[in-house]
C-alpha cells in the first residue's frame, strides 16, 4: 500500500515539475511577445505622426518609402526603441546578479552606488571638462561615467572579498558610495555654469534621445558577452541563493564565482549608464518582477530578468512619449512612475514570498 502511494506521489512530483517548466516557458514567451509589441508601438510613436501602416512598410520594405520616413524610423526611432531594450536588459540583469551574489534584495547598480559614480564621472566631464582618461575627448562624458562606475563596482567587489566583510556591510558601503558620489555631484552642480548645469541635470535624469546605432551595438555586444557568462554558471548561481556554505558544499568556488559575476556586472551596469544617464529603477525592480514570475532557477530567472528589464524600459519609453503630447520626457523620470504601480500590484497580489 505505501509502496503504491509512494510510486504515485513520485510520478506526480515529476509530472508537476514538467508542468511547472512549461508554465515558465509560457511566461517567458508572453514577456517576449509583449516586448515585440512594445518595441513596435515605441517605433510608431513620435513627434511626427505617421500612420502605423507607413511605419510597418518602412520597417519591412525600407526601399519603398520616402527618405524622410526612412530616416525617422531607421535612424531616429529604431535606435531609441532598441536602446530601451538593451539598456533595460543590461541594468536588470546586472541587478539580478548583484542580488544573487550579495544575497540582498536591495542590491542594484543604482542602490549600491555604481550609477551614482557614473553620474559623477559624467558631471566631471560636463562641468569641469575633466577627462578621467584623457584620450578621445569627444567621448569624455561616457568614458568618464564608465570609468567611475567601474571604480565603484571594483570597490564594492574588493570590499566584499575582504575578511570579515558581510553582505550587510557591502550594502552599507554601497549606500555610503551613493551618498558620497551624490554629494560630489551636488558640489559640481553648485559650481557649474548654467549651461553645464542643464546638461548635467538632463544627464542625471537619464534619457534615450541621444541613442545612436553604435551605442545600440555596444550595449548589445556587452549583453552578448554577459549572458553566456551567466548562463554557463546557471546552476552555481542558483545554488548561491541557498547560502554560501551550501554552495561551497556543492563544490562551487564561491569567491571565484562572485568575482567573475561582479566583473561582468560592472560592465553591464557601467556601459548603459555611460550612454543614457542614470536610469535607476529598472535594475532594482526588473529582477524582482522576474523572480515573482518564474522563481530563482537561473535557467528561467536569467532570461526573465533580461525580458522584464527590456519590457519595463520599452514601455517606459512609450509612456515618456505619450504622457505630454509632442514632448519626450526623460525616461529616468518615467521609469519609476511606470514600474512602481506594476511592482506594487505584483507584491500585493503575490501570496508567495517574493524574497
Amino acid at each position: 500500500m505505501t509502496a503504491i502511494a509512494e510510486e504515485i506521489a513520485g510520478i506526480e512530483g515529476r509530472g508537476r515539475y514538467r508542468a511547472l517548466v512549461v508554465r515558465r516557458l509560457v511566461m517567458l514567451s508572453g514577456l517576449l511577445a509583449a516586448l515585440f509589441v512594445s518595441v513596435a508601438v515605441d517605433m510608431a510613436l513620435g513627434p511626427a505622426n505617421y500612420p502605423l501602416s507607413d511605419v510597418l512598410t518602412a520597417l519591412f520594405w525600407a526601399e519603398t518609402v520616402g527618405d524622410q520616413l526612412r530616416v525617422v524610423i531607421w535612424d531616429i526611432r529604431m535606435p531609441i526603441a532598441l536602446m530601451a531594450v538593451t539598456v533595460g536588459a543590461s541594468l536588470s540583469l546586472a541587478g539580478a546578479q548583484m542580488q544573487t551574489i550579495l544575497a540582498n534584495p536591495l542590491a542594484s547598480p543604482f542602490t549600491l552606488g555604481i550609477s551614482a559614480a557614473a553620474g559623477f564621472g559624467a558631471a566631471l566631464g560636463l562641468v569641469a571638462g575633466v577627462a578621467v582618461f584623457p584620450v578621445a575627448v569627444q567621448y569624455m562624458v561616457p568614458i568618464n561615467a564608465f570609468l567611475m562606475a567601474m571604480v565603484a563596482a571594483l570597490f564594492i567587489h574588493f570590499a566584499s572579498t575582504m575578511r570579515g566583510v558581510t553582505v550587510e556591510t557591502i550594502v552599507l558601503l554601497g549606500i555610503a558610495l551613493v551618498f558620497t558620489f551624490n554629494a560630489a555631484l551636488s558640489l559640481l552642480e553648485y559650481l557649474a555654469s548654467e549651461q553645464a548645469l542643464a546638461a548635467v541635470v538632463f544627464w542625471t535624469m537619464g534619457s534615450l534621445t541621444k541613442a545612436t546605432w553604435p551605442k545600440v551595438w555596444v550595449t548589445a555586444a556587452v549583453l552578448l558577452v554577459a549572458v553566456p557568462v551567466f548562463a554557463r554558471r546557471a546552476w552555481a548561481l542558483t545554488a548561491l541563493r541557498l547560502g554560501e556554505d551550501k554552495a561551497a558544499s556543492f563544490g562551487i568556488d564561491v569567491r571565484r564565482l562572485r568575482l567573475e559575476t561582479m566583473l561582468t556586472v560592472s560592465l553591464l551596469a557601467a556601459i548603459p549608464v555611460s550612454f543614457v544617464g542614470t536610469i535607476g529603477f529598472v535594475g532594482l525592480v526588473g529582477p524582482h518582477i522576474a523572480r515573482m514570475l518564474v522563481g530563482e532557477d537561473q535557467r528561467f530567472f536569467l532570461p526573465a530578468s533580461v525580458l522584464c528589464g527590456s519590457l519595463l524600459l520599452s514601455v517606459t519609453s512609450v509612456v515618456s512619449k505619450t504622457l505630454i503630447p509632442g514632448a519626450v520626457l526623460p525616461i529616468g523620470i518615467i521609469t519609476a512612475l511606470v514600474g512602481v504601480p506594476f511592482f506594487f500590484v505584483l507584491i500585493f497580489t503575490n501570496r508567495k514570498r517574493a524574497w
Binding site: 513520485g10 508537476r16 515539475y17 546552476w235 541557498l242 561551497a248 514570498r353
Partner: protein, 253 residues
C-alpha cells in the same frame, strides 16, 4: 568500499587555530560514524576541513573511491535559505551542479525517490521560505543524498527533527550506508542516538580528538564526565541496549 582517514589534520580560520593534530583510524564505508563533542569543539570545522572548505595542515586520505574529490558531500549545520525556489527545484539544483541545462527524466525520478524516502514528497512544490525548521532540515538531507556521495558528512542532521523523524532519518541513513557502502559521518549532540545507530564514534573536545573507536567503548561515564561535564550512567535498558541516564551537571571547579 570507500574509506577515509585523517592524518595530523588541523584547521585555521585566518590566524586562529581551531583544530590541531586530528588523527583517526580508518573510517569505514558501509556504516555510520558519530562525531561528538561539546559546542565549539570543532565538529563542524572537521567536516569542513574534510570537504575542503576550510584551510589547514595535514592529510585527508580517501581510498577506494570512484569519484575522487567529488566523492565527499558536506551537509551544513545551518539550513536556512530564503531563495524563491520550490523544494523540488532546490533538490534538482543540488543534483545538477556542474552539468548542463537539460534535465533528464531519470534525474527527476531520482529526486522523486529521494523525496519519497524521506517522506517529504508532499512538500515538493512548497517554497523553501515557507518550511518549518525540521522540514528545512529534511530538504537539506535530500539535497545531500541526490548528490550520491561516497562520503557523506552530516552536520547535526536531526537537530530540528521530532522524535519520529529523528529515528526515521537515522534508521534510513544506516540502511542506506549498509546497502550502498557509503561512509557516513554524523555530528550529533544526542549521544543515545550515537549509541544506537553509530558503530564508531570520534570525540572531539577543544579542537582535538580525545577518544575514538567503537561507540560502546567510547561513550562511557568517564568520557561524559571529562568531556561533557555531566554526571551520568551508561546502563543497559530492559531490552539490553545501552542508554545514557543523566544525573546532574558538574559545577565548574
Amino acid at each position: 568500499m570507500v574509506s577515509l582517514a585523517l592524518k595530523d589534520v588541523g584547521a585555521t580560520y585566518g590566524r586562529r587555530v581551531v583544530l590541531s593534530d586530528i588523527n583517526t583510524g580508518v573510517l569505514k564505508g558501509g556504516q555510520l560514524t558519530a562525531v561528538i563533542g561539546p559546542n565549539a569543539a570543532g565538529k563542524s570545522t572537521v567536516f569542513k576541513r574534510i570537504a575542503g572548505l576550510a584551510a589547514g595542515p595535514g592529510l585527508v586520505h580517501l581510498s577506494d573511491t570512484a569519484k575522487g574529490s567529488e566523492a565527499i558531500c558536506y551537509m551544513p549545520q545551518d539550513t536556512g535559505a530564503n531563495a524563491v525556489l520550490t523544494v523540488y527545484e532546490s533538490v534538482l539544483l543540488s543534483a545538477k551542479q556542474g552539468s548542463g541545462w537539460k534535465v533528464k527524466d531519470g534525474e527527476l525520478q531520482e529526486i522523486d525517490r529521494v523525496l519519497a524516502a524521506l517522506k517529504i514528497n508532499e512538500l515538493a512544490f512548497r517554497g523553501l521560505g515557507e518550511l518549518s525548521g525540521g522540514q528545512r532540515q529534511l530538504v537539506s538531507i535530500a539535497q545531500a543524498l541526490v548528490r550520491k556521495p561516497e562520503v557523506l558528512l552530516m552536520d547535526e542532521p536531526t537537530s530540528a527533527l521530532d522524535l519520529f523523524r529523528q529515528i526515521e532519518v537515522l534508521g534510513f541513513m544506516k540502511r542506506l550506508a549498509t546497502q550502498s557502502g557509503m561512509a557516513v559521518l554524523i555530528a550529533l549532540h544526542d549521544l543515545n542516538h550515537a549509541l544506537r545507530y553509530c558503530e564508531d564514534t570520534i570525540v572531539i573536545s577543544d579542537g582535538s580528538v580525545v577518544a575514538s573507536g567503537p561507540t560502546h567503548a567510547v561513550v562511557t561515564a568517564d568520557m561524559l564526565k571529562s568531556v561533557y561535564r555531566v554526571e551520568a550512567r551508561v546502563e543497559a535498558c530492559s531490552r539490553g541496549r545501552p542508554v545514557i541516564i543523566v544525573d546532574d551537571s558538574i559545577a565548574l571547579g
